[in-house]
């Protein structure tokens, strides 16, 4: 068994008086590709924010790389849902990717050669090196997602956390992004939050189903009954072959 990198122990969280998460316990292992799924408002984003250290749990503990509380930020890379910034922001693809260095960079105004080199490598890996000079507002959803993944990879994280990475992209790009993540998961822990259980189960090693409480499954065992429990409504399983 691999090492535990993130250990969520009996965590509860409330927004005011509304319980969002109850008694969540989850161990995430090194180099695991885990999907966290659940319907809207099931507490997925809240759980991510707790893991990232943007929120504090009301009860329980979250240890990351054996450190409790504060984010050991060099270990964890984060790819947000990309709706948070304005589309006409004057910033290029290259500049956004470079932001991954922000914590450690010491030079004024510009980045140094090594930092630029690392960013170029990340852009090459994600096949966005040809759009380096483009403004981020002009990009398609899939391109923007690749830019944000590149920015997170520049931090050279050991764990990569992605919030709904395929929310604004079409099916073909979705497949591209997930097979890319599948490759990375060989030497990196990857946590993906999604509401799309059918799609995600083809790629991840394990699925954590969240709806205020948490149930974990290996991907082989996902059944219609389980989805029904989770979404509280009958769901049709469609078996299909590509």
């Amino acid at each position: 068994m691999n090492n535990v990198v993130i250990d969520i122990n009996d965590v509860s969280f409330n927004f005011g008086k509304v319980p969002v998460l109850e008694d969540i316990s989850l161990k995430i292992y090194e180099d695991e590709f885990i999907g966290i799924i659940g319907p809207n408002a099931s507490g997925k984003s809240t759980l991510l924010k707790l893991i990232l250290g943007l929120l504090e749990p009301d009860k329980g503990t979250i240890a990351k790389y054996n450190h409790e509380g504060k984010n050991p930020r060099n270990h964890i890379g984060y790819v947000p849902q990309h709706s948070t910034f304005s589309r006409d922001f004057p910033v290029t693809v290259g500049e956004v990717v470079m932001m991954g260095h922000i914590a450690r960079s010491s030079r004024f105004f510009r980045y140094n050669k090594k930092e630029i080199e690392l960013a170029k490598q990340a852009m090459k890996k994600l096949e966005i090196d040809d759009i380096e000079k483009r403004q981020v507002g002009e990009l398609s959803g899939g391109q923007l997602q690749r830019v944000l993944i590149a920015r997170a990879l520049v931090c050279q994280p050991e764990t990569l956390i992605l919030d709904e990475p395929t929310a604004n992209v079409d099916m073909r790009i979705e497949e591209d992004i997930f097979s890319l993540l599948k490759n990375y998961s060989e030497h990196m822990t990857i946590i993906v939050v999604s509401h799309d259980i059918a799609f995600i189960s083809g790629y991840v090693d394990r699925v954590a189903c969240l709806n205020r409480t948490l149930v974990c499954h290996n991907t082989e065992s996902i059944s219609g009954k389980m989805i029904e429990e989770l979404y509280d409504a009958p769901v049709k399983m469609i078996h299909h072959h590509h």
């Binding site: 930020r73 004057p90 932001m99 922000i102 914590a103 980045y111």
Partner: protein
């Protein structure tokens, strides 16, 4: 126009006015860009108006109104920023309160100071033709301060303005940079007050940068372009107002508005083609 150019070679007050325009354009281009991309023009307006409190008090105690303005601008930007970080959901009400309280305090103090009326008008609406050498020196020093801070922290500002959550996760103290940015805005407001007055400052801190935003793909290019646009607009405003003896601040602001709307229409026209 030729009348203006011959007057420019002749009169120092006009030369000072043009220098003031150029100096103001530096702060305006850089800080205006941040105001536009961070979408805090209302907040900037609030800080600008609360400056009157400091000026009124300075008058009453017979101190330098510019010093009063700087102190009031810094105090109100730190206060607004600090409260805003802890009380985000009422941001617009908070700004309205600072906006009007600042004006009210300023007017109370001015009303108790004999013979205030002329000066009040010039700080509310600007009086670029009365700018002196020492005003220019102050503007220059404030520009230098703003440029230095922006140069040193350019990457930090860019990261935290573009994606605050990500910057925070990477260990950037985004609250510190937010308040520092508001302080830089307040210094720039003081630079601009003598040009167009505190009521119309908001025009120069948003319109040139908003025009520039339509043509650039990068923040540092936006600084340069909007400084250039601001310089052209303000010098043009001085030139246009000189002949018919119109209030310069108002003419500068209207020139800026015309330039902005022309640019928006031009962009629409180009993208529809």
């Amino acid at each position: 126009m030729s009348e203006f150019i011959s007057a420019l070679t002749e009169y120092t007050f006009l030369q000072n006015a043009v220098f003031a325009c150029l100096l103001a354009s530096i702060g305006c281009g850089v800080i205006g860009s941040y105001v536009v991309v961070k979408q805090i023009s209302f907040l900037t307006g609030g800080i600008a108006h609360s400056v009157l409190a400091g000026m009124g008090m300075a008058y009453f105690y017979n101190a330098s109104p510019m010093m009063g303005a700087i102190i009031a601008a810094l105090v109100s930007s730190i206060l607004i920023g600090w409260i805003n970080l802890r009380w985000k959901e009422h941001e617009d009400v908070l700004i309205a309160a600072f906006w009007s309280a600042g004006m009210a305090i300023g007017i109370l103090f001015l009303s108790r100071t004999p013979g205030y009326n002329v000066d009040l008008m010039s700080y509310l609406f600007g009086n670029i033709l009365l700018i002196t050498r020492s005003d220019l020196l102050l503007m220059f020093l404030l520009d230098l301060l703003v440029l230095t801070v922006v140069f040193v922290f350019y990457k930090h500002f860019l990261a935290s303005v573009f994606d605050e959550e990500f910057a925070r996760l990477r260990g950037i103290n985004t609250e510190f940079f937010y308040i520092l940015l508001l302080c830089l805005i307040s210094i720039t407001i003081v630079i601009l007050i003598q040009l167009v007055g505190l009521i119309m400052v908001i025009a120069l801190l948003t319109l040139p940068a908003a025009i520039a935003n339509q043509y650039v793909n990068s923040l540092h290019k936006m600084f340069l372009l909007s400084a250039l646009i601001c310089a052209v607009i303000s010098v043009a405003g001085v030139a246009i107002s000189y002949g018919p003896d119109l209030p310069t601040g108002s003419v500068i602001v209207l020139t800026a508005c015309c330039a902005y709307f022309s640019s928006v229409i031009f962009k629409q026209f180009v993208s529809n083609k």
